[in-house]
Each structure stands twice: as structure tokens, then as C-alpha cells.
């Protein structure tokens, strides 16, 4: 079916008029500007916005990372001093550790839960639209509201989570108040909002042709074999996309821990994340130069990880029709 569609040649409208074919009329050279001016004008709000609010700050922050810029004062040029200082800053390393910890657990878990959830929400059950909506709803909750909600759920004394645990005889930990449990609590909260990823997985599942399953059925494959050899391989392009986006988002974790701890990263800096420390340096300690250096290190880390994922993707990402 789709084979046929591909074979239809696009209609050729670009054939020049016969005067031109006979070279009776010389080709009129149009400048780039006159050819594209309307397009550029239409795109100008966006182009200007991108230049003024993204490109200029982005590239000037490279320069600022070599200075003691404080927003209020231009500061002096100090060369690589900010970068050198960062490597001996224990709180910087603590924030790197916390962020990597979060990413290492959150990203794989979000893929496992996201794919599993999407598969369940892809079943042919009555009222599926309602179930899908229910799982998507948490995504719509603003981060600040999410933080307040979970603070109550995880309240060590009166929280619902510890209340449920105590009914089965487990004395729950202090969750957000405990150095060991604060990061797992945060991961749990973040997993609650994977609706966005699930939507993408669902679209990916919808893309897998029924034919494969029919063929597998004829061959006598069970549900596990179908999932292992048809669903998962054909879902890899979507998993790949969510993996890259997930890594980027995990390294930029900010709103949730910042709201939960009033920006303090308590207890004992166990919730101090990279971007939180960056923000504090830039806007509280008058060290925007230092913060710019942190931003560029983060950029390099994310870039390197993304590149790594891209390089390995050739081995595990299977595109349909290849």
C-alpha cells in the first residue's frame, strides 16, 4: 500500500517557459534580499527575538566566564581563574554529584516506566481515553504546586506515604528530611510527571504496523516475544529521542528542588543541584562570571553526553524501512 504511494512521481511544475528554453529572454538575476525579503520580514520577530534574547546573551556569557562580572559591575578579565576555582570548589562537586546521581537514576527509570505505561495505555480497552488523560494530568501541574503537594504526601509524621507504609508495618523514613532519602524522593516525584514522554511513546507505538504482529501471531509468538522482538526494536527511535531530551532535562533540574528547599538544597546540601548553585552564584553572590563558567561546563557535559548517545545510537536504534 505504502509502496504504491512512494512510486508516484511528484508532478513536475518547474519546467521553464518555452521562451526561456529557447534562450530568447536572458535570465533575470534576483538578489537574495529581493527574493526572500517577505519571508525574512515574516520571520523577523522570531529572528530578532532569537538574536537579542538568546544569541547575544549566549555568546557574551563566554566572555563573561573569563571575568568577575557581577551584573552590577563589568568586572575584570581574569582568564581561566573562574574555571580553576570551580575545580577546587567542594560545593560545585557536591552539586555535580547530586545532578549525576539524579540523572543516572531518573533517566533510565523514566524510560522503563514511560514505555511500560505507554504499552498499557495502548491496549484495546473501553474508556482508554479517560485512562490516558488521567496519566497525562500530572504533567499539567506546575512545578511549584507539585512541590507543595509532594511535601504533604511525603510528610514524615502525617503524610499519606508514611501512613500507607505504617499500615503494612513499615516505619517510613523522613523522606525529604533525610540525607539518604531526599534524592530518591525527588526522583519519585519527577517520575510522577512523565505524561509528556508517554504521549510520545504512544505515538511511536501507533506507528508500528499491525502486519508484524499478525505475522508473529501466525508464527506462534507469545506476548513477550512480540514485545521483545517487534515492539521494543521499532520503538527505539522514540526511546532515543526521549533519552536525549531526558538527559538534558535531568541536568537542568532546578524548579522542583529549589521550591522544595527554598533554594537551600537542604538537608546537608543533598538537594543542591548544578543549576541551583549556578543561580545562587549569579543572582545572590554577585558572581555572574563564575556562574557563566558553570553554564559552559554544563554545556560541554550535556554536549558530550548527547554526542555519546548519538554515536552509540547506530547500534541500537532501528528505523522502520531500513
Amino acid at each position: 500500500m505504502s509502496e504504491n504511494a512512494q512510486k508516484i512521481e511528484p508532478a513536475n511544475n518547474s519546467e521553464p517557459p518555452y521562451e526561456r528554453q529557447l534562450k530568447l529572454v536572458p535570465a533575470k538575476k534576483k538578489s537574495f534580499w529581493s527574493k526572500n525579503k517577505h519571508g525574512i520580514l515574516f520571520a523577523s520577530p522570531w529572528i530578532l527575538g532569537l538574536l537579542i534574547f538568546y544569541a547575544i546573551p549566549l555568546f557574551s556569557s563566554i566572555y563573561f566566564s573569563f571575568t568577575t562580572y557581577s551584573i552590577l559591575q563589568p568586572g575584570e578579565f581574569v582568564g581561566l581563574q573562574n574555571y580553576k576555582d570551580l575545580f577546587t570548589d567542594s560545593l560545585f562537586w557536591k552539586s555535580v554529584y547530586n545532578t549525576v546521581y539524579f540523572a543516572v537514576f531518573f533517566v533510565p527509570l523514566s524510560i522503563i516506566f514511560g514505555v511500560a505505561l505507554a504499552m498499557m495505555l495502548n491496549m484495546n480497552v473501553k474508556g482508554m481515553g479517560i485512562y490516558r488523560t488521567i496519566f497525562f494530568l500530572p504533567t499539567l501541574v506546575p512545578h511549584v504546586a507539585l512541590a507543595v503537594l509532594w511535601m504533604w504526601l511525603l510528610n514524615p509524621g502525617f503524610g499519606l506515604v508514611n501512613g500507607l507504609l505504617s499500615t503494612i508495618g513499615i516505619d517510613g523514613p523522613a523522606w525529604l528530611g533525610s540525607v539518604t532519602w531526599s534524592k530518591p524522593s525527588l526522583i519519585m516525584m519527577s517520575l510522577w510527571g512523565i505524561g509528556q514522554a508517554v504521549i510520545i511513546y504512544l505515538a511511536g507505538l501507533g506507528d508500528i504496523p499491525e502486519d508484524y504482529y499478525d505475522a508473529a501471531k501466525v508464527d506462534g509468538a507469545n506476548w513477550y516475544q512480540k514485545m521483545r522482538h517487534i515492539t521494543l526494536p521499532l520503538l527505539t527511535p522514540v526511546i532515543f529521542f526521549n533519552l536525549v531530551m531526558g538527559i538534558i532535562a535531568a541536568f537542568q533540574q532546578f524548579t522542583l528542588p529549589y521550591t522544595l528547599t527554598q533554594g537551600q538544597g537542604t538537608p546537608a546540601n543533598s538537594l543542591s543541584f548544578y543549576v541551583m548553585y549556578l543561580y545562587d552564584n549569579g543572582f545572590k553572590f554577585f558572581k555572574m562570571g563564575y556562574a557563566s563558567a558553570m553554564a559552559w561546563i554544563l554545556f560541554v557535559i550535556i554536549m558530550a553526553l548527547t554526542a555519546l548517545v548519538f554515536i552509540t545510537s547506530k547500534r541500537w536504534v532501528h528505523y522502520q524501512g531500513k
Binding site: 523577523s44 520577530p45 552590577l72 560545593l91 514524615p156 509524621g157 523522613a174 540525607v179
Partner: protein
């Protein structure tokens, strides 16, 4: 073809015009400095709500009656305060600040060092305002490098609140509350009721509420800053001793269990001292309003933060001020308003409605704060109160000290190590 081209041109024009109005909107000034019908408008940014908001409004009204040619445009700015001045920061760096801002005195040092506040020394001298008018710590905190950068408005102090009924229940004398650290520990021990890893009631938590290391460090006789060398001295042996005591206290009751208790508590009516789950708590005078509001029948008293010797009790005070950010357009009119707000008349109006202490001793006396059995204690200690050091990295030092307490009490590092790290890190920034 021609028609659609014209259409395109029109649309292009429209989009450019829309954009230019947006850009113009960004640069137009937000109403400060404009003179309408001969009136000068002073823009005033503040973060005051509830009773303090009413108090500021009353001050503005009284000022405008006396100065018909000046109009105060009062703008509420959420989150203006300690370490939350992002909006003011960008306004100053963008060259479009308000004329007057309500400002945490604690940050005057670092902002003045950044050159983002107007020097008020000359204006103050002209108007005959000098340090004799205010409490010494308030004046000191509003000055940097010998120059005045803000006029103090309000202040507070910290004492230990205690539940009189709990004291009587366990046989402690509420007339003789703890004076020494040892007595405090003893009282806390008697008052605590622990069941497994849960506290039914806890006597005292040194770092709860306003139990910052500043309070304990000064009470143990330490010094946090050396103005001579412009260096912090967080690893002063006396401060290490204070943190060691806090750490030992936490270990005795198991710090994670205490965290489980404190994390379960709420604010306002849910405060553990108000719900009688906590018998003693370091807090400021504002606690009185909370108690009157949520638990008026609570039987309580206050005593100064105990010291190792039981003498030389002290505390520390913060509070607010008004400043003129650098680049303000109506400095003269702004100063008129500040002078009124920080002067005796404005202070009386503000302090009476806000129930915040004035920074002028005679105003506190006149408003009867000194005769109040609870508030009187807070006012009485003001003359010997400390202020947090005026320095360029006040916020960093504050955050580092808070982390040091967390890291030490949780047993991640020893108190000595924690405070050595703080000293090293902050001094590196001060150089």
C-alpha cells in the same frame, strides 16, 4: 498576483510595527520621574503585606498629606528581601530602578560594595540625621565603609520562647528559666517525650526557628568577622564550641529523628510550639502576633538565649531599611520620603500598625513595647544586640554557615572542619 503581493507587504508592515511597539514597551520607563500637574512621583518598591503593608500605606498617606507636591507610587514586589532581590538587581543594572526600595539591611554592605546604592551620607548630614538617632547596630548595618547607604526602619531580636505549662508539668520553675547551656540541656531532657524514633514532644531543637549559628556563636562568646583585616573568622574556637554543642545535642536525640519531627511541622497555626509539640524555641517578636492569632490561650514566657556561663546574654537583630538604588531619577523627593519614613513621626505610624520594633528607642518606649511583659524583654536586649557583619559577601557567608550547621549536625564533617571550610571559602571571595 499583484494583489497578494500587496497583501504580503501589508502583513510584513504589520509584523514590523507590532514588533517595534513591543520593543518600545520594553524601554519605556515605568512611570518614575514623570511630573503630572506639578507633582513629583516617587516610585517605591516594597514586599510588605498584611499588617506591615497597611502600616506602609498609612506612612505614605501621612507623608502625602504633609507633602502635597510629592506622590508616592507604591509598588508591591514579591520576594524582595534577603537573597531574593533579582528584580531590583536587574532594574538597577538596566538603569531603570525605583526611586526608593524597601531593603533588607543585611544586604546593604554587599550592594553598596557593588556600587548599586546611592550614598546618603551628605543628605543625612544636611538633614541632621546621625547615628545618635538609632540603635547602634541598626546604624552600623546601614553603613558601609564609613558611609550611610540606607535609613533603618524596623528591627527585631531573638529570645527563647518556652511553654509555661510544660515547665510546671515536669517540675521546672517557670520563674527561673534556664540561664546556662547546661540548664538548657537539662530542661530539654526533662521536657522531651520520645517513643521509638518518634517524638511525642521535644524539649528543644537548637537550630529550629531562629536558632541560627549567629545566635549561638555570639552567645558562646565568638566573633564572626574581623573588620580590621576584612576577614571572616567562622572557625573562632568559641564558634566551633557552639557548633560542637549543637552537634552533640543532635546526636543525643538522633538528628534524623529530629528532622523527621521538624519536617512534619507546618507554619502558622501548625507551628510545633503553638501545637505544644515543642516546649522551647528560639524566635523573634513576630511570634507573639502568631500566638495571639492562632493560640491566644497559650501560656508562655521568654528568656534570653542561654550562654555557657549564664552571664553576658546577647542576641542578634536584623531588620529593614529604605534605600535609593543607583540610577534613581528623583533622588531629592525620594530622600524627603525616606526621611519621613525613617524619622520619629513615620516610625511611630509604621511601628504601631506593623507591630515591628522601631529602630528609635524613644519610639519603642512611647508605643509601650517596653511595658509589655513579653515584648519588653525583646526591646530590653536591643542595646546589647549584634548585627550580622557588614561585608561584601554577606549572603554567601549566611548560606555557608547554614550549610555548616547542617553538615556538622548530620555528622558529614566535624564542626571544626565545617567551619574551617566556611572560613576558607568566604575569605577567598573577600580578597
Amino acid at each position: 498576483m499583484i494583489k497578494s503581493k500587496k497583501m504580503m507587504m501589508k502583513l510584513g508592515m504589520v509584523s514590523v510595527l507590532t514588533l517595534s511597539t513591543v520593543m518600545a514597551g520594553c524601554s519605556s520607563d515605568s512611570g518614575s520621574g514623570a511630573t503630572e500637574d506639578g507633582k513629583t512621583t516617587v516610585t517605591f518598591w516594597h514586599s510588605l503585606t498584611d499588617s506591615t503593608g497597611d502600616a506602609a500605606e498609612a506612612v505614605i498617606k501621612a507623608f502625602e498629606e504633609q507633602n502635597p507636591d510629592i506622590k508616592i507610587n507604591s509598588v508591591y514586589t514579591a520576594n524582595q528581601g534577603e537573597g531574593q532581590n533579582e528584580k531590583l538587581l536587574t532594574a538597577v543594572s538596566g538603569g531603570n530602578p525605583p526611586d526608593v526600595a524597601y531593603f533588607d539591611r543585611f544586604e546593604i554592605g554587599s550592594w553598596a560594595a557593588q556600587g548599586s546604592l546611592e550614598d546618603l551620607s551628605a543628605l543625612a548630614e544636611e538633614s541632621g540625621i546621625n547615628e545618635e538617632t538609632y540603635y547602634p547596630f541598626a546604624w552600623e548595618e546601614a553603613s558601609y565603609d564609613g558611609n550611610l547607604y540606607g535609613l533603618p526602619i524596623s528591627t527585631d531580636s531573638r529570645l527563647v520562647y518556652f511553654n509555661v505549662d510544660h515547665f510546671e508539668e515536669v517540675g521546672l520553675d517557670p520563674e527561673n528559666p534556664p540561664r546556662t547551656i547546661a540548664e538548657l540541656e537539662d530542661a530539654a531532657d526533662k521536657l522531651t517525650i520520645k517513643d521509638g524514633n518518634r517524638f511525642e514532644r521535644i524539649g528543644f531543637i537548637p537550630w529550629f526557628g531562629q536558632g541560627w549559628l549567629y545566635g549561638w556563636g555570639w552567645s558562646f562568646g565568638g566573633e564572626f568577622f574581623d573588620p580590621e583585616t576584612n576577614m571572616v573568622t567562622a572557625n573562632d574556637p568559641k564558634i566551633v564550641e557552639a557548633l560542637q554543642w549543637m552537634t552533640d545535642f543532635g546526636q543525643k536525640y538522633n538528628v534524623e529523628d529530629i528532622a523527621g519531627f521538624t519536617d512534619s511541622q507546618g507554619d502558622g497555626a501548625m507551628d510545633p510550639f503553638l501545637t505544644s509539640q515543642l516546649s522551647m524555641k528560639v524566635s523573634g517578636p513576630w511570634e507573639v502576633s502568631a500566638i495571639n492569632k492562632f493560640k491566644p490561650d497559650l501560656n508562655y514566657g521568654v528568656f534570653p538565649i542561654p550562654t555557657p556561663t549564664g552571664e553576658d546574654h546577647t542576641t542578634w537583630s536584623g531588620g529593614w531599611s529604605v534605600v535609593i538604588p543607583k540610577g534613581a531619577k528623583n533622588k531629592d523627593a525620594a530622600w524627603e520620603f525616606m526621611k519621613f519614613f525613617g524619622g520619629e513621626e513615620g516610625q511611630k505610624i509604621f511601628s504601631e500598625i506593623a507591630r515591628d520594633f522601631s529602630v528609635i528607642d524613644s519610639v519603642n518606649e512611647e508605643l509601650g513595647y517596653k511595658d509589655d511583659p513579653i515584648l519588653g524583654e525583646f526591646v530590653e536586649i536591643l542595646p546589647v544586640s549584634n548585627n550580622r557583619p557588614v561585608m561584601t559577601q554577606g549572603s554567601l557567608y549566611w548560606n555557608e554557615l547554614a550549610s555548616a550547621v547542617e553538615n556538622a549536625t548530620r555528622g558529614i564533617v566535624t564542626p571544626q572542619e565545617a567551619l574551617d571550610n566556611v572560613t576558607e571559602k568566604v575569605n577567598k571571595e573577600l580578597k
